[in-house]
């Protein structure tokens, strides 16, 4: 019976089993990719402006303080739904303006309160960033984050 206890068989089962789970993972990711592109995100609304806004978000490492869809640092508020929180669904222009004004007014300088740096963004960049946040708020995130005022 010792013949079946060999390490090469152990290695094969380890590789084979892992490959099986990895293949399932790849297939599910492929399905999820199609789901995201076709269903859960606003692909049609993914304009150049939204994409530029995402690059503004990345270029300034906003995620190293804020979270978006709950991911990033936890030093500053979640922004995945900030557009909704600021009533962007009923008044998109108003919410967009609020985002731009907010960015321009930082840092607040309030003693004892966390400070957001002043990012030297052009009007165009601010518009793009607001478009990106508006776009992100339209994604179907399975009901997350939990907000009481619903």
């Amino acid at each position: 019976m010792s013949e079946i206890l060999t390490k090469s068989t152990a290695r094969n089962i380890f590789y084979g089993g892992s490959a099986f789970f990895f293949a399932i993972f790849l297939a599910l990711t492929a399905h999820s990719y199609l789901y995201m592109v076709n269903k859960s995100t606003d692909s049609a609304g993914l304009t150049d402006s939204v994409e530029r806004g995402k690059r503004v978000w990345e270029r300034n490492a906003c995620f190293d303080c804020h979270t978006i869809y709950g991911e990033g640092a936890r030093f500053a508020p979640e922004v995945g739904d900030v557009f909704k929180r600021w009533n962007g669904e009923t008044d998109p222009a108003g919410a967009k303006q609020m985002i731009k004004d907010w960015m321009k007014s930082q840092p607040s300088g309030t003693p004892g309160r966390r400070q957001m740096p002043h990012f030297d963004l052009s009007d165009q960049q601010l518009d793009d960033l607001a478009d990106f946040l508006a776009w992100a708020s339209r994604t179907n995130t399975q009901g997350w984050p939990p907000r009481k005022s619903k």
């Binding site: 019976m1 079946i4 206890l5 089962i13 084979g16 789901y35 269903k39």
Partner: protein, 197 residues
């Protein structure tokens, strides 16, 4: 010193051939690590199913009524018979009857294909009725559990094919153990998903 007391515990974990309690089981010990992992996964999924069902038993019962129970019963018979052939194959190989073992293992794998055919007919009907993995509630869980099981049938057929190619008695035991695990999982998930309501 305390060292003396603990030596016994450790020898129970590490015996001579190094596989500890796994070495008494039929087939390669690492296959049993895989089997135990799989059973844990399906077990947790079924417990999750029971929990999710308690949130909305009425909708779950309504969804369940769309399943084809007869197809499930047929597939149960197919898998159990397939397992029977696999067990016969191990038995034959252990007694050195290579040819008989091959024939029986091939039959076992062929019945696995039959299972997959029946299952895909079922799936296509479910999809035609508008139920898919995104439907939420019962159908998401149903597709996940049965789909994951069906993928194990696919993997099992591949493993049986490898055993046919490298047909040592040990490999027969190892391959058949995986195949019976796939059997066992179906025996547990079938009543839970199809029959209980």
């Amino acid at each position: 010193m305390r060292r003396e007391e603990v030596v016994d515990i450790s020898t129970a974990v590490v015996d001579e051939d190094g596989w500890g309690p796994l070495s008494g089981l039929p087939g390669h010990p690492l296959m049993w690590v895989l089997i135990a992992s799989e059973l844990a996964v399906f077990g947790l999924a079924l417990l999750g199913y029971a929990g999710a069902r308690l949130h909305d038993p009425i909708a779950f019962a309504a969804a369940q009524d769309h399943l084809d129970r007869l197809a499930g019963v047929i597939n149960t018979a197919v898998l159990l018979t397939s397992g029977f052939f696999a067990a016969l194959a191990v038995d034959a190989r252990a007694r050195g009857r290579r040819g008989a073992a091959r024939l029986r293992l091939t039959l076992a794998a062929a019945l696995g294909v039959v299972f997959l055919v029946v299952k895909s007919v079922e799936y296509s009907r479910d999809l035609a009725q508008g139920f898919d993995i995104d439907s939420g509630g019962f159908f998401t869980i149903y597709f996940l559990i049965t789909g994951f099981h069906a993928l194990h049938v696919v993997l099992g057929i591949i493993i049986l094919a490898i055993v046919l190619r490298f047909d040592s008695p040990g490999n027969y035991e190892t391959g058949a153990s995986f195949w019976h695990m796939v059997d066992l999982v179906w025996i547990v998930i079938f009543p839970c998903l199809y029959l209980l309501r």
